[in-house]
Amino acid sequence: MRISMARTLQIVVTILTCAFLLVPTLQSVLAGVTVNYFRGLSSGLTFQWISQVWDLYMDSIFLSIWLAITCLVCTLLIGVPAAYGLARRPGWASRVLEEFVSLPLAVPGLALALALLQLYGSMRGFRTSWTFILAGHVLYTLPFMIRSVLAVLSSMDLKTLEEGAASLGASPWQRFRDVVIPNAMPGILAGSLTVVTLSIGEFNLTWMLHTPYLKTLPVGLADSYASMRLEIASAYTLVFFIIIVPLLMAMQWASQRAQRIGK
């Protein structure tokens, strides 16, 4: 069979793109477990860099995990009721509100951080606490939670479901708890995984909001890239990959599942 020009080009570009994305990632993984990166693999494999990263940056890893969990709780408490409200009251006011909440998707994190710093920078207690970074993370991830839940809620016949429950005597709260939340579950799951993944990887906002005593994982990464030897920076990146890659794969799986239900 003759392979056409177009097809050959497609295959070559696909292979080159894969190489471009994969090669530096593999380099970083290898450098993180090699005794001396410049002498190459012949210098031997080691876990000493990873254990050094653990000693140096353990706090930042735990801070990031803690921030991701608290950020998830906040976006659930704020986002799920909001998505329900938006689904129940479609109209121009809801559209404007949704558009405004979604601004952090469009406006660069740096600009949002400057805005937060100028308004709250003088409130020392808040400025230097971890809750200040949390506010930034919730701001950035909330639109993802709202959209994910809203997409599932708008695709089903919420009104009929609720009327059925109401005719059996369920109060608004009972209907929300026993009808809306179980039906919105695929969207809530996809939204939750997105929120956690994004929170752990967030840098642009966090770099501006953090203090020397409160470094998150990506802030620590930037720190190690600037001041540590290549092996430690790579080992730290490897630790980051180990945390983020399974989360990302779970997120993609859950989002596809929610989309299928949403159709």
Partner: protein
Amino acid sequence: MSSRVFVQLCFVPMFVFVLAFLALPLVRLVMSSGESPAGWAIYWQILATPRYLNSLLQTVGVSFAVTLAALAISTTTGLFLARNRFAGRGLVLSVLTLPLAFPGVVIGFLIILLGGRQGLFSQLTSGNVVFAYSMFGLFLGYLYFSIPRVLLTVMAATEKLDPSLEEAARSLGAGPTRVIIDVILPGLAPSLVAAGAIAFATAMGAFGTAFTLATNIDVLPMVIYTEFTLSANIAMASALSVALGIVTWLLLVIARTFTGHTAAAGGG
């Protein structure tokens, strides 16, 4: 409690949060951009001062180049992956989409591993090829995080195309290249414009990659950062942020009018 009141109560947490951490801070940002001696003319100063104008042009230039490159690469790859089934396709797809969650700083580091002073190309050429800290390095970094986003849009759009149109073209004697140019690309056009706008907006606002690559690159987010932290020129940092925010927001509004649903820039 009536159903109406309950639904209204559902908005309360979001309302309070958005007011405190989005609306008021943004108002403060706009206000402080006008607090320098120049007043609101500061927005004119952005265009009149060579340093800011150059950085603006450089940022637009590199973002535009990245957008074109990402569209070309991702469309070629996306069409191939959407229309062919082969062993290892899932793996290729994972490799191409995993960088979605990499923060800009990590991507900057990966570019340093490729083209830095101790990078792969430098080792292969005994120190002759070092590009990580230049505009080209920045271009590659932006390309790295743009490819997965554009690719996913292209593949989703390809799956929605009507295959009978391609069959009709083939039955009329069109070769594979003609089918792509005359049938597939026009069908994909709205999605390509949308994906391009997203890639452009993301590149305009990207901070982490430029921050890691550092030296000599004056893209807009880096200028905002140095104005704010080193020069303490808060009014100018705010004005540049407001201008940048409006541009990226408008681009995403354009993207949405082409596809009908909102996409996220973010990251970088």
